[in-house]
């Protein structure tokens, strides 16, 4: 009898699991629909897209956690070209008209900006100065960085297509700040009655279609009424694939048409695959080492110069970065309008490095290969985050280069959160950083935040009142030519002083199927921006 009961109950359990599975499967479909129902326009568009033109499948770098253009670290509405900023920038980081056609400074703290006419939002409403005011007010309110970029105080609608922005202090680069993707112009209906952001209603060539909250997939479709003219691409389906190896797999398997930042050692192999092309571009990001100026040894300029001379940057680019990148030449990348062409790549000269160390009092007295000063061996903690694929091998290589000139470098690689803690505690000698150098298209941004005494990215706590005064002076210079010249002079001095040690320019890889054509890389985007003129065939 017991056996019978066991069997019956076991069968029941099995049946229960089967039924549960089926029910749950049923529920999920509802769940997904409920997820997309938030912006309930999915099915029709996807059906329409499936008819003739397929949307481009995009493997995005980060998980798409949000899509508020003013309040998200993923910048998906910029990537998806749903929202646009008032002012654009060319390949060489020079400003060009976008939603604004002209701008002029009417007093030290006021700017008058003329808006493009005949621009309409995705909901059909015309773009006027009041929506621009709404967007800029909101950007400044939500995010301290936006306020700081713009020095935003207020704005005033002059007429339908003219707006006046007042800054809290004179800011010659307000137009540059308006290029930043957080300052994109959105329609107030992007927010619901309670003030929560629900739908990005922008002016760009792509219209927001849906967001699947379950798979965090962001779908956009062509804007037939874009002010910039006809849009080639029918739409895009964007999903975050945060792992670089998974992105490489996805493009190899054909699951995405377009992706970014594949592992550097995979670039050649992927490019050799039939139907896949991998292009490399320089982005405004550099690998550099932050120097801890609270460490006495590193306060000596000769020691910092010796460290730089010990590093063979060509070899690093060839063998560590697989040529995805370039040896650093100054603080900026060559495509920038303010790039100083007289800047030379930093030389590799271990003999000179040793001589400089000896001059600074470091000598190998006990013959163990490590130099000493005052009887103590010269050790350096080189801390690096592990997230960017180039950082760990680069740190190991630099550790070796430093050993060759007699510095005992202890390389420590950790999660970026842990390295941030080390940085805060000033518990490092050298810190590897992959830093953005043009959040706004102006040379002042990095010099001001990295090297000014109170700069918020001045991690090494460098302080030089004379330099601070020069930065302040350059920052307030209106004339671009003069401004660039002043910053170039400061850059040259920073370079000579080795206040931070530049290593290499950051290369970004774009892997796409050969069916995707016409993509033009935009180096001025925060991460990247898709191109309305791309086409997808086959």
């Amino acid at each position: 009898m017991i056996f019978m009961t066991t069997r019956t109950h076991f069968t029941c359990l099995l049946l229960f699991l089967l039924i549960a599975g089926t029910v749950i499967a049923g529920c999920t479909n509802t769940g997904t629909q409920a997820g997309t129902a938030v912006q309930n326009r999915t099915t029709t568009t996807q059906a329409a897209l499936a008819g003739e033109e397929q949307p481009l499948k995009f493997g995005e770098l980060w998980l798409i956690t949000g899509f508020d253009p003013m309040n998200s670290g993923v910048f998906i509405t910029e990537k998806a070209i749903v929202t646009e900023a008032l002012i654009g920038a060319d390949q060489d980081f020079k400003l060009i008209p976008n939603l604004a056609t002209t701008w002029r400074r009417t007093s030290p703290v006021t700017w008058e900006i003329a808006l493009r006419e005949n621009v309409s939002f995705h909901n059909g409403q015309p773009m006027t100065a009041s929506e621009v005011k709404f967007s800029l007010d909101r950007a400044a309110r939500l995010n301290a960085q936006n306020r700081q970029f713009m020095d935003y105080d207020s704005s005033r609608v002059i007429d339908a297509h003219t707006i006046e922005i007042t800054t809290s202090k004179p800011n010659p680069i307000l137009p540059e700040a308006l290029h930043y993707p957080n300052m994109a112009i959105i329609h107030p209906d992007s927010l619901d009655a309670a003030g929560n952001f629900t739908t990005p209603i922008g002016t760009g060539p792509m219209v927001f279609d849906s967001f699947d909250q379950q798979t965090r997939t962001f779908t956009v479709k062509r804007n037939p009424h874009w002010w910039g003219g006809p849009v080639q691409l029918p739409g895009m389906v964007m999903t975050g694939i945060p792992d670089s190896n998974a992105r490489a797999l996805a493009i190899e398997k054909g699951e995405v048409d377009f992706t970014v930042d594949v592992p550097m050692n995979e670039v050649q192999r992927l490019n050799d695959l039939p139907g896949v092309t991998v292009d490399t571009y320089l982005t405004p990001r550099v690998y550099r080492m932050v120097v801890n100026f609270q460490r006495p040894a590193l306060q000596d300029k000769r020691v910092r110069q010796a460290i730089s001379l010990a590093i063979n940057r060509d070899d690093i680019v060839d063998h560590v970065l697989y040529n995805v990148g370039a040896p650093a030449r100054g603080l900026y990348i060559p495509s920038m309008a303010w790039f100083n062409t007289s800047m030379q790549a930093l030389p590799y000269d271990p003999e000179k490095a040793k001589a400089l160390l000896a001059e600074a009092g470091y000598r190998d007295t006990n013959g163990d290969g490590i130099v000493e000063k005052d009887g103590r061996p010269f050790t350096i903690d080189l801390v690096s985050a592990q997230e960017r694929p180039g950082l760990p091998p680069m740190s190991e290589a630099i550790g070796q280069y430093l050993k060759e000139i007699g510095i005992d470098a202890r390389v420590e690689i950790m999660a970026s959160a842990a390295s941030t803690d080390r940085q805060k505690a000033m518990n490092y000698d050298l810190l590897m950083v992959p830093a953005n150098i043009a959040m706004i298209p102006d040379p002042g941004y990095i010099i001001d935040t990295w090297f000014r005494t109170d700069g918020y990215a001045n991690s090494g706590k460098y302080s030089n009142p004379t330099l601070d005064a020069r930065i302040d002076d350059a920052k307030q210079t209106d004339d671009l030519k003069e401004r660039y010249a002043k910053f170039n002079k400061i850059e040259a001095d920073i370079y000579d002083e080795m206040i931070s040690i530049p290593l290499a320019d950051y290369g970004v890889t774009i892997a796409h199927k050969d069916t995707v054509t016409g993509y033009r890389f935009d180096p001025t985007a925060h991460d990247l921006r898709m191109d309305a003129n791309m086409t997808l065939t086959g």
Binding site: H9, F10, G31, A144, Q148, N196, I241, K253, A418, A457
Partner: protein
Amino acid sequence: MHHYLIKRLAFLVLTIVAASALAFVLLHAVPGGSAETIARHTLVGLEDEVSEQMITEVSDQYDLVDPLWQQYLNWVYRAVRYGDLGTSFVYHEPVTRLLTLALPPTLILAATSMLIVIVAGISLGIYSAVRENRAGDLIVRCATVFSISFPSFWIALMLMLVFSLTLNWLPVTGYGTPAHLVLPALALALHPTAVVVRIVRTSMLETLGQPYITFAVAKGLSFGQIVWNHAVKNALIPVTTVLGVYFGHLLAGAVIIENIFAWPGIGHLLVDGVFSHDIPIVTSCIVVIVTMFLVVNLSVDLLYRIIDPRISYE
């Protein structure tokens, strides 16, 4: 029985409270600083510098300046009083909504894996016992040793390599179609299947050695009848417990598999929450996972008594 149930339920609540408190505290011990990580995810780029002003604003916005115990008690109060698990710092959405989206995929994955475990585990176990020490048994036993020894993430990657990249039969990652379910369910099921095979085999062999089986043989019953009608039923009693425990493991243990296969379940949500210091998400995910695990275990214990009335909890 009632005393037992009350005791177990009290223990369940206590464990959930302890787990949520631990998750809350541990997340604060993770390096990086919550406000700074949240600012990176919501205000500036994920790798950009965060100014002190932003840290202050984010801390104020999410009440991160309050003492830890107060933050935790506030969360518990709202959760118990209003069923409000808070709003995600990064997604800017109610946690309950995110959980309702993440739970079904996890349950589907766990239920499918469970089905594989039951069907494959029991049938292979019986086969292995019936063919004791013959070639089939040896192959099954070797396979179980491998399945138990290799970690599930390695098996997941190998499955991807073979079935997705080389044979091109199945998609690498993703969610939405039955084809997407195959590899993660297999990867998740392999380890428990191997364990179940071993237990069924041992249990079957033990049962087959019982005097009543000898009696059945003497009665002249066919081998098939003996195995199916007499041995299997008895041999499966211990297996039920193991299956129950493993269902809990499957629910909770999907964290790694979900992340490898980009399966939008609760494990995926949890890991993303940890990386972005999204405190309400992490605490709520832990609470849900722990609750599922404990409830399944409790149900199995109760079910066990129904299956085998000789067992009493008094």
